[in-house]
Symmetry: C3
Subunit: 349 residues, 3 copies
Amino acid sequence: MSKTVTGNFFEDFRVGQALRHATPRTLTSGDVALYTALYGSRFAVQSADVFARSVGYPRAPVDDLLVFHIVFGKSVPDISLNAVANLGYAQCRFLKPVYAGDTLYAVSTVVGLRENSNGKTGVVYVHTRGFNQDDVEVLSFVRWVMVRKRDEASPAPDPVVPELAEVVNVTELGSACPAISLTNWNDAFSGSPHRFTDYKVGERINHMDGMTVEEAEHQLATRLYQNTAKVHFNQHTEGAGRFGRRLIYGGHVISLARALSFNGLANAFHIAAINAGRHVAPLFAGGTVYAWSEILAESWLPGRDDVGALRIRTRATCNLACRDFPQADGSPDQPGVILDLDYWALMPV
Amino acid sequence: MSKTVTGNFFEDFRVGQALRHATPRTLTSGDVALYTALYGSRFAVQSADVFARSVGYPRAPVDDLLVFHIVFGKSVPDISLNAVANLGYAQCRFLKPVYAGDTLYAVSTVVGLRENSNGKTGVVYVHTRGFNQDDVEVLSFVRWVMVRKRDEASPAPDPVVPELAEVVNVTELGSACPAISLTNWNDAFSGSPHRFTDYKVGERINHMDGMTVEEAEHQLATRLYQNTAKVHFNQHTEGAGRFGRRLIYGGHVISLARALSFNGLANAFHIAAINAGRHVAPLFAGGTVYAWSEILAESWLPGRDDVGALRIRTRATCNLACRDFPQADGSPDQPGVILDLDYWALMPV
Amino acid sequence: MSKTVTGNFFEDFRVGQALRHATPRTLTSGDVALYTALYGSRFAVQSADVFARSVGYPRAPVDDLLVFHIVFGKSVPDISLNAVANLGYAQCRFLKPVYAGDTLYAVSTVVGLRENSNGKTGVVYVHTRGFNQDDVEVLSFVRWVMVRKRDEASPAPDPVVPELAEVVNVTELGSACPAISLTNWNDAFSGSPHRFTDYKVGERINHMDGMTVEEAEHQLATRLYQNTAKVHFNQHTEGAGRFGRRLIYGGHVISLARALSFNGLANAFHIAAINAGRHVAPLFAGGTVYAWSEILAESWLPGRDDVGALRIRTRATCNLACRDFPQADGSPDQPGVILDLDYWALMPV
């Protein structure tokens, strides 16, 4: 039996199959510092124990997206080592805050399979969940990836496509957010006077700044997440491949867009859920990432008057400033747009 | 009201105006590790809890310049987002040691304004102070920056230029330095037998080594400091700008010079004050930084016989080895010189 | 007396000479996070406190190679600042686990000297030992380096070449490994069902993945280790030198190979000893590192039935995939091979 893991191919998956992923991980203040150095994120709750404590957390929680990347990374060797493309995310919910010192592990269940008509690949839908050291679920999401078949002659499975919510219901938001003290929320510290009720549906925000990505940066990030997808790391093979270069982990773009969004959404301190995410185009080192956001909806959380939820659609672009809000008209394929992310963020009222 | 911060322009500042900066930050051992990875600094007090404890600290303090960069970074969105140039520093004093776990915040007061004769820009002088979680002041400095006017037609304010000390008085040094046990100071561990009294005024030290800077490195550093100045990060715009490339944060050069200065000043364990600092020329990725120092003065600290203060002038250069002490004759503009820093460092006697 | 350290030359060493190295270092979770970001290592014992605790450690130990690099780095200013080449390692034993919070220091003894026939250089053999804050030895190894003479005319010393064991005896393994609970060892978490007895002598494992190295990455790593060897950092001088570029620290290659070896050796959780190591060829930024391993021997540890020791020979290559096991025939100089490492790793039974 081979000692080496070559990853699952499309035929290896069965609907209902459970996969327990390797390498539990203790998140530390070291991981948090690296995350800051990689993206420059400035949200006060995640940056300062004192601020976090003053508003209701026991101390600064780990950035939601760092938690996402860690859990996602664990699933890669079992789910997407032979993936052609990461197609989408849905129903991603952040369920409990994660703190430095917590140890995370991840499990996935196959919830859908559909062979593509070319007979060479198929789409695998997995429900991935992250747990902490107390076996408390901290994160849950569905993603679907296009995976190669090992043998094109193998028969197609009965197609199963899971029904996925287009939007996470507001009743499912907020469990990772303690009661927030509005009295103690200091806008000077948080970086903006604009609270929940100051945002209007349809409002568009250009996040202004651009961030150029270097090879060393995305590699450091992706290794920090123990994500082993080959396309991010191997110039020797990728140089001879489709793009001629290493592909940047899509999650790196999400984190860049989120960090850039501080300028305009400084009080959107917590990502409660990701409704949908699509990597519209690949990003390569040397590209400069910009972002803009649109407020799609806003909602109070049932039984809470401390925070409200903004449904935000953020587009990230490459080498394209966002003052004209590219793709605002909903056109599907404007060059330069690389990410289309739809999420719920919480803001103090 | 726009949600996006575009930064203050020259007309937005008033003498006496107070600015409370965003994003308090808890410094951690993660930040310290990154600082080591970025500069390779080897001062024993900051590297080892055991050494620090043996000489009089409760544990290893955070590198003085990391504290400086964190406080400085906070001031950028309010002070220098529209800056053309960072002109100088003065009266920078390190007032209390900072330890991993401390949370820092920063406030600034405008202490001077002077429009330039071209009517397009003006110089803003700010006094910036950093505080810890107990509201104890840990750092204080004045810097002045050239800032664009929003509207060239707006009238010039009455010029106010603060009187700044050329040198921080020795009576103001040492509050961030506990009583140092000379008995326990181990020169083998600290890396040099040369103590305070071994240095002579006028002595010149070539710090020998050169360090080449990569884009990823200075971006990681500057994001770690949550410094958002656009010129450091955006190749898309900077590529079309004055230099055709990203400008490296001047503080990165200061930290490189300080780390290089270990070779020759290994026992200069604490920067007590920065008298003056000037970024003589910009640094770009790919450049190799060297440094040399001259002892300008030496002084006992009032009432102390454990440590003395050396006033050190350190020049950093780019692609220019320092064996001939470039610009030692005081000539103002030798090519290759990029930094001229005048500071007080403490050394055990 | 010059304040600047220029390093020892061949004539400066005497057999029996003891060198106490500078800058003790407290290892932190920040260093551990950086190590993960630099190599992407996924061994469960080092990644998760919870896993480590479940199998018998008090918490996650620091990666063995991070300990090695830290101790090695301390010896550089005294031993190899004027080295032409790092020739080899032997008798490297990991004696005690190191945890975040421990402070390490290092001492070396010169155990051999032999001038080369060209009269320009000589080989220096040193026995380097690392200790923790309780003066407990955590690491011991011999290395030998080719060092320049200051003056070619100086007389050659009597040659002394230490007798070095080809293989560390199995009785000397295991002191850094607590009793491991096989009941609690979870193969799903550790990433492989293959335990000690599943590996056969002569078995070859292609570790599959390739990792491209960037300048910023190896510089960050080498500075993290406070290793000051000039050849790794100074493009200004190296650009005009033998290779025209910066040389990557050999230890960086060892860590990359070890991280890659997870795919095939996931349960080889602890490096107990390095029998021999040779940097067959230099690595430069832009190269993609691959690795493969051969099981040279296997042995039970005296008095223990929880873990066994695999003697593993790992070759790392540059821009050469390892599916054909390059240099498996023992040919000494196949192009593309850059590292030949012979070590003992422990695995649960």
